[in-house]
């Protein structure tokens, strides 16, 4: 069974927000709901001034704090390693939102539940690739199987030394970043 993840090359991100709207459409989200964000960060003064765009989404942690705190077991990790919310058992208590150190969960006001990035798992199971990956004009995201050493993502991580965000938290995310 594959263990899916995404490697993000933030040096290539231009902050166009295509991933955001592609995701919204794929998952039929309202215009003010989103599963991914782009944060921009300034540093330095000209001539060493720089600006970085950092695409953010659920990190699909191996050791997911959101899953641990869920009182109904609605948050679970699928067999492919994707952290999902079962809409039928979620009671919308938002405990998971508080527990997520990355703050990557949102409220679905229409259904009264908590929602989040699903790595487009329905699409992936049909042989597709997550919408945020395929739409990206500069190919910032690489999607694939982290357990396959020959997959593009594994090779990218090996070559660039891409790291997850805040590895010190011990959450063991499956989203990796190359940031310089």
């Amino acid at each position: 069974m594959p263990r899916y993840g995404i490697a993000i090359d933030s040096t290539k991100c231009i902050g166009c927000h295509s991933c955001r709207v592609a995701c919204q459409n794929q998952n039929e989200l309202h215009f003010d709901e989103t599963f991914n964000w782009i944060k921009s960060k300034d540093r330095g003064q000209y001539p060493s001034y720089g600006k970085e765009f950092i695409p953010l989404q659920c990190n699909h942690c191996e050791n997911a704090p959101c899953q641990r705190v869920c009182p109904t077991g609605a948050t679970y990790t699928s067999k492919e390693g994707v952290v999902l919310v079962n809409p039928k058992t979620c009671v919308g208590c938002k405990y998971c939102m508080e527990a997520c150190p990355y703050k990557m969960r949102i409220i679905d006001h229409r259904r009264g539940i908590v929602e989040k990035c699903r790595l487009c798992i329905e699409l992936v199971r049909e042989g597709g690739t997550p919408a945020c990956v395929t739409t990206c004009p500069t190919q910032v995201r690489i999607f694939g199987d982290l357990d396959d050493p020959n997959s593009a993502i594994s090779r990218f991580i090996a070559q660039t030394g891409a790291q997850p965000l805040r590895p010190d938290l011990g959450t063991v995310p499956k989203i990796f970043y190359k940031r310089s």
Binding site: T11, K12, C13, I14, G15, C16, H17, S18, R20, V21, A22, Q24, N25, Q26, E28, F31, D32, I38, S40, D42, G44, Q45, Y46, P47, Y49, G50, K51, E52, F53, P65, V69, P87, V91, G92, C93, K94, Y95, M97, E98, A99, P101, K103, H109, R110, R111, G112, I113, A131, T134, T135, C136, P137, T138, Q139, L169
Partner: protein, 733 residues
């Protein structure tokens, strides 16, 4: 830690709200997953062309029943290679926008509209047109458009009516870029083999916001292969984030940088001698002219250290011919400065010195597809009209090298006030927002005896029109065969309806055919869209059905590097432009000051520059909630200002600033950043919608056009949209 814990109080409140909404959702949205599954059964995929900007990316649109769901790119399409931008995704929702026009409208008073039938609209417009034609002649009519695939038919419509006055947005966008390149190499829009380049400079061109998905995809591949990119811009653009080096330049002085680079390449014999000897003319004159433009001189003008300028020249030479300076679009090379035409010529000349034409990793001319035509019996020639327009485009004594059919759209209000233009058709354009000095534009357009708009929403211009004949939204309409996806091979593509029109609207080609009848020019439109498209495809042995099935078809004819051919008067690459020489204009690139400069002694004085954001096109996408939300969430309407300049004015990040000059006044919040040159403030150009009929966009942000005087550049007549000086101050509390 703060954020990993949860207080008991928060938890209780959280569950209470959650519980309440759960109950509601069970009533309202029972088993929503089940309904989703059911609706996948009537899933349909239709290929078509996006209409978010002028790239017309090829997309596959998924529908569930009658409802549009999502889109994916078509991988072979030369312009987007299977990618879609935020606009492409977001505008799928635009078809359901609450502000859409639902039937033809007649304006009965200020902002008062009455729905009428198509027949009545055609009849009344026909009558008005005949009256005006009789009284003022057909030259008093104009057409203004953002050219679509059907632009040829629109021109045909006007020519049949007897008017040569077909305007586009060129004068507020790209005019000098096109003319400068055309003068030098005989082609207005050379392409770049970005994928195989080793070094490239982007001079005020920000393909990461004035998006070209193809170019970005190629750029990404080139980066992986180790290519280096430099962005030269007064502002740290989105592309600068992607590039390896950012060079901040004083706005309006890019020409000085180019001249110094040309000088360095020549003086140090770093240019491609082979290319220059074999394929160019006028090299000695160029060498003579640029001699004085040293890196020291350019440092004075541009503010870029001489060492950096010299390094750029060396980097270019080292990678040549697999290096280029981007051909530009609306940035410094577009209609922004008085010296833009000279700048484009200088950029072209530096590329000439690099000898990169038709070279791998350099620049090339994209393969062209010549579409078939209806037989002349069905498609009679329109009357021959003069070779100039009412605004002086093409006229030997006014703007001799400004092409007829592009025109100077900012001249329309002036010509209307003078009484030279009496009636107009505005298609896919919104001059009241996208032309300089809106107060003047409104005055001019008000003066027209007849204004017909084909808009799908009540934009500023449509709100002023006498009649609105709503075009179906792009997802609801069939259109003509396109050739815009020819990048490095020959491709044909087509736009087609994904869903039935939601309201009483029609495709533009159908409107043209029907309107032509009531205007007495029906004999020129004696065909159907189907026949027109079939004839277009006939030379390639492709059926219309097949094209509609596949969306894009590649016809082969892939570009390969080889000896370059130039369609200039001399047949060579022209360092000395023979056309400019004949017109007694500076034929070799030389320094020209920008029209205006900020007052260095006044702490309030700034140049106002503008640029695009990747999720917006002009001011036409901000009325879409999905796209506006991105601006709102990321606070993107702010005006960029340098920290030291801001400090002198007592402005802190996020403070409200008042921006004013003789043309207009507006307020915007400050983005204090090191990523902007101290001489200027930067205003994103996608905002400032003032039509109250666009309820999502109204009143959100401001536009640079509110501060831009109505200028006409002396050679081409373009609008010089960065020649704005404004006074910036902190808005009193």
């Amino acid at each position: 830690m703060d954020n990993s814990g949860i207080t008991r109080r928060k938890f209780i409140i959280g569950s209470a709200i959650g519980g309440a909404s759960l109950v509601a959702s069970n009533y309202l949205n029972l088993e929503s997953w089940a309904t989703t599954e059911e609706s996948t059964q009537d899933l349909k995929v239709t290929p078509t062309l996006c209409d978010g900007c002028g790239n017309w990316c090829a997309i596959k649109v998924y529908t569930r029943g009658k409802r549009i769901w999502k889109a994916e790119g078509i991988p072979i399409a030369g312009n987007n290679l299977g990618r879609i931008c935020a606009k492409g995704h977001g505008l799928l929702h635009e078809v359901y926008n609450k502000d859409r026009i639902k039937s033809p409208l007649k304006r009965t008073g200020p902002n008062k509209f009455e729905p009428i039938s198509w027949e009545q609209a055609y009849r009344e417009i026909g009558q008005r047109v005949q009256e005006i034609k009789k009284e003022h002649g057909p030259e008093s009519f104009f057409w203004l458009q953002f050219p679509e695939g059907n632009a040829g038919l629109c021109s045909r419509f006007m020519n049949a009516l007897g008017s040569p006055n077909v305007f586009s947005h060129a004068t507020t966008c790209f005019l000098p870029r096109n003319i400068g390149w055309w003068l030098t190499i005989g082609s207005a829009k050379p392409e770049h083999d970005l994928e195989h380049t080793r070094f490239a400079i982007f001079l005020g061109r920000n393909i990461a916001a004035g998006l070209r998905l193809r170019a970005l995809s190629d750029l990404s591949k080139a980066k992986d292969r180790g290519a280096r990119f430099v962005v030269v811009d007064p502002r740290f653009s989105e592309l600068a984030s992607f590039a390896h080096q950012y060079v901040q330049i004083r706005p309006g002085t890019d020409l000085a940088l180019m001249l110094a680079i040309a000088n360095t390449l020549i003086a140090e014999k770093l240019y491609q001698k082979d290319f220059v000897d074999k394929y160019s003319q006028g090299f000695d004159e160029l060498a003579q002219k640029v001699k004085g433009y040293t890196t020291e001189w350019a440092e004075q003008k541009t503010g870029i250290p001489r060492g950096v300028i010299g390094k750029l020249a060396h980097d270019l030479a080292e990678s040549a011919p697999q290096a280029f300076i981007h051909r530009g679009y609306h940035g410094a090379l577009g209609t922004q400065y008085k010296n833009s035409l000279q700048l484009v010529r200088a950029v072209a000349c530096v590329n000439g010195l690099l000898g990169n034409f038709n070279q791998r990793g350099g620049m090339f001319f994209h393969p062209e597809v010549k579409l078939g035509r209806l037989d002349p019996q069905k498609f009679p020639k329109t009357p021959e009209l003069g070779d100039s327009m009412v605004d002086g485009s093409g006229a030997s004594d006014r703007y001799p090298i400004t092409p007829v059919g592009l025109g100077l759209s900012q001249a329309i209000p002036e010509l209307a006030l003078e009484g030279k233009l009496k009636a107009g058709f505005v298609y896919h354009n919104n001059p009241l927002r996208t032309c300089p000095n809106p107060a003047r534009v409104i005055e001019g357009y008000r003066k027209l005896d007849l204004l017909v708009s084909f808009d799908y929403i009540l934009s500023e211009t449509a709100s002023l029109a006498h009649y609105i004949l709503p075009e179906s939204y792009y997802l609801e309409r069939d259109d003509v065969v396109h050739t815009n996806h020819c990048f490095n091979s020959k491709q044909v593509a087509i736009r087609q309806a994904v869903i039935e029109p939601l309201y009483d609207t029609k495709p533009m080609v159908v409107i043209l055919i029907e309107l032509a009848k009531s205007l007495g020019i029906g004999n020129y439109f004696n065909f159907t869209l189907e026949e027109y498209n079939q004839a277009a495809l006939a030379p390639f042995g492709i059926t219309l059905e097949r094209l509609k099935q596949e969306g894009v078809i590649d016809l082969g004819g892939k570009w390969e590097p080889g000896p370059p051919q130039f369609k200039t008067p001399s047949g060579k690459f022209e360092f000395v432009s023979s056309t400019l020489q004949d017109l007694n204009l500076p034929a070799v690139p030389e320094w020209e000051e920008p029209l205006v400069v900020p007052d260095q002694s006044d702490i309030h004085s700034f140049r106002l520059i503008h640029g695009k954001q990747a999720h917006h096109t002009h001011a036409k996408t901000i009325n879409q909630e999905y796209l506006k939300e991105i601006s709102l969430l990321n606070d993107m309407t702010r005006v960029w200002i340098h920290p030291e300049r801001a400090k002198a004015l007592g402005i802190k990040d996020g403070d409200c600033m008042t921006i004013s000059n003789s043309v207009g006044k507006g307020r915007a919040r400050a983005l204090v950043t090191d990523g902007i040159h101290r001489d200027c403030v930067f205003l994103p150009s996608s905002y400032g919608v003032y039509s109250r009929n666009l309820r999502t966009a109204f009143g959100f942000g401001i536009s640079y056009n509110d501060f831009l005087p109505t200028y006409f550049d002396p050679v081409l007549g373009h609008c010089m949209s960065n020649e704005i000086i404004v006074r910036v101050e902190k808005t009193p509390a």
